[in-house]
Symmetry: C2
Subunit: 346 residues, 2 copies
């Protein structure tokens, strides 16, 4: 399996190294070979080439079976114009690889419930939400206008086929879970949301076994706090998804634990932790490698169809948590171990 | 003082009646006369005139000193096209009265902390956030395109003067509070957000005594859950404000308690509870009138400059809560009183 590995910025290189060790161990145990090509993207690519994603680097990703991205960005590059910033590398990766669906599981590990900001009776015992965020459309890629000083505009737009493919993925995902899809939009105001809702309704006809309901985005932002257990699969557009996935991750209280997958119409996917590059702790050995390691599990599952191997990683993570191993971010002030020690245990 | 009163739909008429009683009592105690002209807007106006806000009704509002709106909308009108729905009446009121700032205090009453979904150590003892949502620009009023079936678009846009006036209001508000403004945008992606950020920075030069920081909207959605106490005044655009104000209200756990004000460049403002029309409990005498009554307090403060009278209402609400009076929504399953009994006590 050929993997394009993007260490990126901040704690990115450290955690991405641990991911490789875990993959190599999986290779030993199950007889696979994972080869990694290192790709520069984000701040490091700006520093080296003056471009957050040079075309040759994107090309390496295109030729791989999967992309493993640690984290990009940091304050260092914050004053650059938007088109030259590390985040642009991320957006170009999504576009350049045709990734249209960002899958973000928001789950709570019972061992880490103390870190959850919501009361116990609200989150219950096994909160497990899967949010699917559309990645190719919406106000992210529409035409920009104006001068950023007196008037500016951004075009929000959607094509039916963009909505259709992510809606299908949502219904397919729900079939393997609790058979419930909540589609989030702002159809009482936006034309794009009416298109969204009409298309989701049309696709729903092919999935009579799945319960579908629609929710306005403002209400969804409330319901995630009020009663997150009502959700199984949530599907929404690029902008609302950006906001709601972050809110949902924070609700779990375990942001250093959560992986994500960005998928397209081929097997080539991109896998990354949802946390950022945390430049403040880079190099200190304090970073939590778990989200990165669980991103490898998602890669094994979605790009390589290695479900057993994916589950082996997930079981290992659960086991070390159960045994009390904690990096500083999840130690609640108690005893903590280093990045390397954590991945050794896993 | 001439008030245009919009009872609207669902529980609207019931709670708006209680508001009038409270205002009359204030009039008796402090020697003012409040006269109310009843205005039809929302679902009831659709049923009567086929239009959620007939021009004559808007005209009554324009000629008043303030508008008191209870709640509009309900499932009954959900199948109508967007332009014919009750919510459109609300949007036309905002536009027609030139209201550009929606003020939403998110506060927690210590007596009601049990209803707050967040853990005690997260919310602390006196959470008090003021969110200012811009109301005239953004994707709410930009041009729509497409057919709602194969392709659709919405134009998100902002002019500098729209951002400037709400930014000033935010800094002025912060001066009377903890001197901290958080401006929320998505400047790493959107041109409108760059305009927003540039303008806020320019206005900030006139307020060197106020601490300003910028936050991306996805991060803000997280921080409201992780550590809401970091916020004093939050200022943001129309769409992000729609989402974040609802999230912030839910964090307090007291959605039946929270009022809001929509202000423009004259004294004429519109005041309304943040909760909806709750058609399921309409006519049962169970509705909580407090958000409506506190909306009157905001009206006295912002439109009539009657600060003492506003505080009298707020103190009365605190006192009845302290004495244990609860409507069903805040009774946590315990003993509850009716809408009328609650306003009698207040
Ligand atoms: C960095 C930014 C462009 C990006 C986004 O908004 O998509 C990030 O917030 C994310 O969610 O991956
Ligand atoms: C009903 C709807 C148009 C409205 C809005 O989005 O502004 C509502 O959600 C609100 O926040 O007042």
């Amino acid at each position: 399996y050929k993997i394009a590995r993007i260490p990126g910025d901040g704690i990115g290189p450290e955690i991405s190294e641990e991911a490789v060790r875990v993959l190599n161990r999986i290779g030993e145990l199950y007889g696979h070979t994972f080869t990694c090509a290192e790709v520069d993207a984000g701040g490091i690519a700006i520093d080296k080439y003056g471009d957050p994603l040079p075309e040759e680097q994107l090309e390496i990703c295109r030729k791989s079976d999967a992309v493993l991205l640690a984290a990009v960005g940091g304050e260092k590059w914050d004053d650059l114009p938007v088109d030259k910033r590390p985040e642009k590398g991320l957006l170009r990766l999504r576009g350049g690889l045709g990734l249209f669906a960002n899958l973000r599981p928001a789950i709570i590990y019972s061992e880490l419930k103390a870190a959850c900001p919501l009361k116990d009776e609200i989150v219950g015992d096994n909160l497990d939400i899967l949010i699917l965020r559309e990645l190719t459309g919406d106000v992210y890629f529409g035409e920009r206008g104006g001068d950023d000083i007196t008037y500016s505009s951004d075009l929000m737009n959607y094509h039916d086929y963009e909505v259709e493919r992510i809606a299908r993925l949502a219904f397919e995902s729900a079939r393997k879970r609790d058979k419930k899809v909540t589609s989030v939009d702002k159809a009482n105001v936006l034309a794009t949301s009416r298109l969204w809702r009409n298309t989701v309704n049309r696709v729903a006809k092919d999935y009579p076994d799945i319960e579908l309901n629609h929710m306005y985005v403002d209400n969804a932002a409330m319901q995630l706090v009020r009663n997150p257990r009502q959700f199984d699969v949530v599907v929404t557009g690029n902008l609302f998804g950006d906001i709601l996935t972050d809110e949902a991750s924070m609700i779990t209280g375990s942001i250093g634990m959560l992986p994500s997958a960005s998928l397209g119409s081929t097997k080539l996917g991109m896998y990354e932790p949802i946390h950022g590059s945390a430049p403040d702790i880079a190099g200190t050995g304090k970073a939590n490698p778990i989200a990165m390691i669980l991103s490898c599990a998602m890669m094994l599952r979605y790009s390589f169809d290695l479900e057993t191997e994916a589950q082996a990683i997930e079981a290992a993570v659960k086991a070390v948590l159960k045994n009390g191993a904690r990096t500083a971010d999840i130690a609640a002030g108690g005893k903590s171990i280093s990045t390397r020690e954590m991945s050794d245990l896993i």
